[in-house]
Amino acid sequence: MRAVVSVIGKDMVGILAKVSTTVANANANVVEVTQSVLQEFFVMVMLIDISELNCELAELRQQLEEKVEGMKIQVMHEDIFKSMHRI
């Protein structure tokens, strides 16, 4: 089971570090990360394995929002992307 963490917002120091630490604390393994900065805007999409997750997805999102304030954060099960974009 995998989920997609997306973080979008103004770039600042340490976003990736904070996000990966929080994800690690929730016992989720990072499978893949794509990250770029477009005109001061930070866009990161992280694929994580949540089979051993020690909390609910909603809780993980809440923790992430607390860690990196002011960013738009989504944590979504990967099935929604698979079902919408693949036949």
Binding site: V4, I8, E32, L57, Q74, V75, M76, I80, S83
Partner: protein, 452 residues
């Protein structure tokens, strides 16, 4: 790895373009709750609905969190109450109060099914239910009511049409202190679908299983934005293609949510209703889609054609995305719920006659239209008869949900708030159809009904 573009597209759809699951509706059969004593019947109904739906809201919230997709409404539809009233007798409003209470207790937004199916005639309980609708809707908060007065197979029951003209008027009068809200929860149908998850017209048809989950998707904002991204030199075939692709994606999401909800609740999955349902939110408008296709304002000549393209493309895109498509499926044009429609009415571009023409090519009928409070009930019956005729002849669902604004005249406004929105009172033709309406009887089923 998932495609980054796909991920960002989905997130943009949800965050910027108001993509959501409009409703998860649980259909519950009440046929086994019927009793000769209305109080016993009500008690059984409460118990059954509570037992089936107590986890509905919780489950919806869980799915919302898991997939990050907003699920706006959780609702219940039940067997048309007139079927129970036939054998229990008694004061039908007792049923409405029971439904209201259980809806409140399980936390759903609406409960639909204070309904009767009278397209060919009245059976015991039907007339009593019709006459009780104004009282039921004025006394309750969550109950929605619908009446099917015609079908392609059976024709139109004009006696019921006449009664409903008066019922709509009276419902508005009894709720005149609350913006005539009662009439916004009452729909008169021709060819009513038995598995429609959308309110106010949802009921659980007698041919449905004991308990079932139906899902209604939304997303006018997503479709509008997809068309906006196209070049001005794209032709209409290309526009239709883009709508199809977008509808496919939206419906896939509905299918996913429906399957998941049905698994979590242990209830069979019924259908996805792939309707574009507007909301008063900025950008979430069907009128704006039509304008994006290339109209100066919704209501302009060409509006019906644009809506026909939209309605058809939505179905074609959606039908492959779901294992079972049902309900109304198409584009909704509820005036007060759609910012673009309201603006078009205010500017004088959109009239009730144009809306009637539009209903011949979209999935519903004259929906959420505010009419002057002094409109004669026979005129309302005339509106119903016209809409039902369009539905009957074209073998499609049509409906009438008009709200007589008691004490107000054309140009004034009603403000419902929430998803029901607000809108101006529209002018209507006041020439009387009374003689025709009062003839009563049944309009015979059209030749299209003889398909066997």
């Amino acid at each position: 790895m998932l495609n980054l573009g796909d991920i960002l597209e989905t997130i943009t759809m949800i965050q910027e373009e108001n993509l959501d699951i409009r409703t998860i509706t649980m259909g519950i059969s009440l046929l086994d709750c019927c009793d000769g004593n209305i109080d016993v019947s009500c008690e059984k109904i409460y118990k059954k609905i509570y037992k089936c739906s107590k986890d509905l809201v919780k489950t919806g919230d869980k799915i919302e969190q898991k997939y990050g997709i907003p699920i706006i409404n959780k609702r219940i539809s039940v067997t048309p109450i007139a079927l129970l009233l036939g054998s229990s007798g008694g004061d039908p409003v007792k049923y409405a109060r029971t439904l209201d209470q259980v809806a409140k207790d399980v936390g759903v937004n609406f409960i639909g099914g204070y309904s009767a199916l009278v397209h060919k005639g009245f059976s015991p309980g039907d007339k009593e239910l019709l006459e009780s609708i104004p009282y039921a809707l004025s006394e309750t908060e969550y109950v929605c009511s619908s009446v099917n007065i015609g079908s392609t197979k059976s024709g139109i029951n004009m006696d019921a049409v006449r009664i409903m003209g008066g019922v709509i008027k009276k419902t508005a009068e009894l709720t005149k202190d609350r913006q005539c809200i009662g009439a916004a929860k009452l729909v008169v149908f021709c060819n009513a679908p038995e598995d429609n998850p959308f309110m106010a017209g949802a009921f659980h048809g007698p041919g449905e299983p004991d308990c079932v989950i139906n899902v209604g998707v939304s997303g006018p904002g997503v479709v509008r934005s997809a068309i906006a991204k196209m070049n001005d030199d794209c032709d209409l075939t290309q526009i239709a293609d883009v709508i199809k692709k977008t509808a496919f994606k939206i419906t896939r999401m509905g299918q996913l949510v429906g399957t998941e909800a049905s698994k979590m609740l242990g209830v069979p999955f019924g259908i996805v209703d792939l309707s574009l349902a507007p909301t008063p939110a900025i950008g979430d408008s069907v009128a704006h889609i039509l304008e994006e296709i290339g109209l100066e304002s919704c209501g302009a000549c060409g509006t019906t054609a644009a809506l026909a393209i939209l309605n058809d493309a939505v179905k074609k895109g959606g039908v492959m995305a779901s294992s079972n498509v049902g309900g109304l499926s198409g584009a909704f044009i509820p005036v007060t719920e759609d910012q673009g429609m309201v603006r078009a009415v205010q500017s004088g571009s959109l009239t009730i006659e144009k809306l009637e023409a539009m209903t011949a090519v979209c999935s519903v009928g004259l929906d959420m239209i505010v009419i002057p409070g002094d409109t004669n009930e026979d005129i309302i019956a005339g509106i119903i008869a016209d809409e039902a005729a369009i539905g009957m002849i074209n073998s499609k669902t049509t409906a009438v949900r008009v709200i007589p604004a008691i004490g107000k005249k054309a140009g004034d406004e009603l403000e419902f708030g929430g998803l029901l929105g607000s809108g101006p009172v529209m002018e209507i033709n006041n020439n009387s159809p009374s003689k025709m309406i009062r003839r009563g009887g049944r309009i015979p089923a059209p030749i299209q009904s003889l398909k066997n």
